[in-house]
Amino acid sequence: MQFALLIYESPEAFATRKNDKIDSYTGAWRAYYKALVEAGIFVGGDPLEVPETGTTVRLTEGRRRVQDGPYADTKEQLGGFTILELPSLDAALDWAARCPAASYGAVEVRPLTPELRRRITE
């Protein structure tokens, strides 16, 4: 089954992305990515641009509401996602614990819902 690892990062973590040189942030992520690919479980995923670049849209009483930035005003923001093919939640939690963001931010593990996808895409 497939799981999404949702990566939550603090403003400080987002700030360290700007360093061009091979630092421990990119080093750890590159190593993690390599381990996922070698294990044959990587399905997809990408980092997201910093939260300030986001724009949130919703319709309220039929009118467009547009807001700068992400909706939730919490300290840690969604910074990327990875989708993995794994046999169980236990395996997914193992990989989440190894994820670099597990030590400097948070990683939420969520199963994908193929049943709903089928209803939408068929």
Partner: protein, 410 residues
């Protein structure tokens, strides 16, 4: 009663609870086979103690008081359920001898039986350790779940399922007969060791599972040793864990960075723990029944020798590993052997050992890649070394170890 007096009483209750938990749950469930209801009854008794003891003062024998009260709770519970005939003997047993039990200090210690039940072959091996931690030490599901990286709800459900299996599956509360003992004891030792969680710390490999539970694992091993003082492997396991525990503070630098074993300052090792470990190991060797845990402890003992001699006898370590591989050829043993061979005979010899391991088996095994990176780097095969280090880093959970490997990788 003054506030301090009440605090004292509460602390006493806590201590009695911790010390009595396993003994009482084991004793009660050995009769009923129902671990869950024994635990519930013990909790009931504790709640009653929290009201009664501060009010009436501590009973003369708090443990007997808890036992009697818990026994009443079980009897009430059984009555409520309108038990079937099959449970009548249980009821009788619980009623009989109730009076004298309340007065006597001694009641049979059934924890050994409980340990064997927890590690019974009919129980999912992944649940052996969690069951022991809960039923013998009284750890709650949330704490156990954290150490084993599953959600508290899931761990709770698995524990309930395992206890139902114990109750309904016909698993006997008994110490296995001599013919089955070695195998059954292995499962108990494995489960305790899994709680300890540091599988191998020669270099930078560490099994992450259960690593918050080292003290609990040592406690369990001490309980087991008290119950089986003649079993050499029990002493071997305790010696192994004490050696690792002795290095706890040396394993991290002042800035929190990871320090591998060969670079640790022996002055930071705990001498009393090392001495205790050495004592158990010597006692185990006298027994003559050699085993995996004694060998692993012997390897750690050679490392500990560095505190006195200033050097590591890698040849001795290689010899112990050769014996260990014969009886327990796990991935951890093979990776450790490769690292030791590299120190004794050079990185190429170590690499040859690594090349002999099935590549499919190690794709998710961090210590293999850490050792491989280290040996390739020593041979000057930099691009391959970086590759292997990347694999190791990607498989590492501990941020300090991750940082250490990133720096070695360069």
């Amino acid at each position: 009663m003054s506030g301090t007096g009440q605090d004292d009483t509460h602390r006493r209750i806590e201590r009695v609870a911790r010390e009595s938990y396993g003994r009482l749950v084991a004793y009660l469930s050995a009769h009923t086979r129902d671990v869950a209801s024994a635990e519930d009854a013990f909790s009931d008794a504790l709640v009653k103690a929290l009201t009664a003891w501060p009010r009436d003062g501590l009973p003369q024998n708090p443990e007997a008081w808890l036992l009697t009260t818990a026994r009443h709770a079980i009897i009430d519970h059984v009555r409520h359920q309108q038990v079937v005939l099959a449970s009548e003997p249980t009821l009788m047993l619980l009623r009989e001898g109730q009076e004298e039990m309340a007065l006597s200090v001694e009641f049979p210690d059934e924890r050994l039986k409980l340990l064997f039940v927890c590690a019974h072959p009919a129980i999912d091996p992944a649940m052996h350790t969690p069951l022991m931690l809960q039923t013998v030490l009284g750890l709650d599901a949330a704490r156990i779940a954290g150490a084993f990286l599953v959600s508290p709800k899931t761990m709770g459900q698995r524990l309930v399922r395992a206890k139902t299996k114990i109750r309904d599956g016909g698993i006997q509360f008994e110490v296995p007969p001599e013919s089955e003992l070695p195998q059954r004891l292995d499962a108990v030792l494995e489960a305790i060791y899994a709680a300890f969680g540091i599988g191998w710390d020669d270099m930078v490999g560490a099994d992450q599972r259960g690593r918050d539970l080292t003290e609990e694992a040592i406690w369990l091993a001490r309980v087991l040793l008290q119950l089986m003082p003649r079993e050499a492997e029990v002493r071997g396991l305790l010696a192994l864990m004490l050696h690792c525990e002795a290095r706890r503070t040396a394993r991290r630098g002042q800035d929190g960075r990871y320090v591998p074993l060969s670079e640790q300052d022996p002055k930071l090792w705990s001498l009393p723990l090392i001495e205790e470990a050495e004592g158990h190991l010597a006692e185990a060797f006298k027994n003559g029944r050699f085993g995996r845990f004694q060998l692993e402890a012997a390897i750690q003992s050679v490392h500990a020798e560095r505190a006195r001699s200033g050097r590591i006898e890698w040849e001795a370590i290689v010899r112990f590993y050769e014996q260990l591989i014969r009886i327990s050829p796990t991935l951890g043993t093979q990776a450790g052997y490769a690292a030791a061979v590299a120190e004794a005979k050079g990185p190429e010899a170590g690499l040859a050992v690594l090349d002999g391991i099935d590549l499919k088996a190690v794709s998710g095994y961090q210590p293999y890649w850490a050792v491989r990176g280290h040996l390739l780097q020593r041979l000057g095969r930099t691009p391959e070394a970086k590759d292997a280090y990347d694999r190791a880093i990607g498989l590492t959970e501990d941020p300090a170890v991750k940082e250490f490997l990133l720096q070695r990788r360069g």
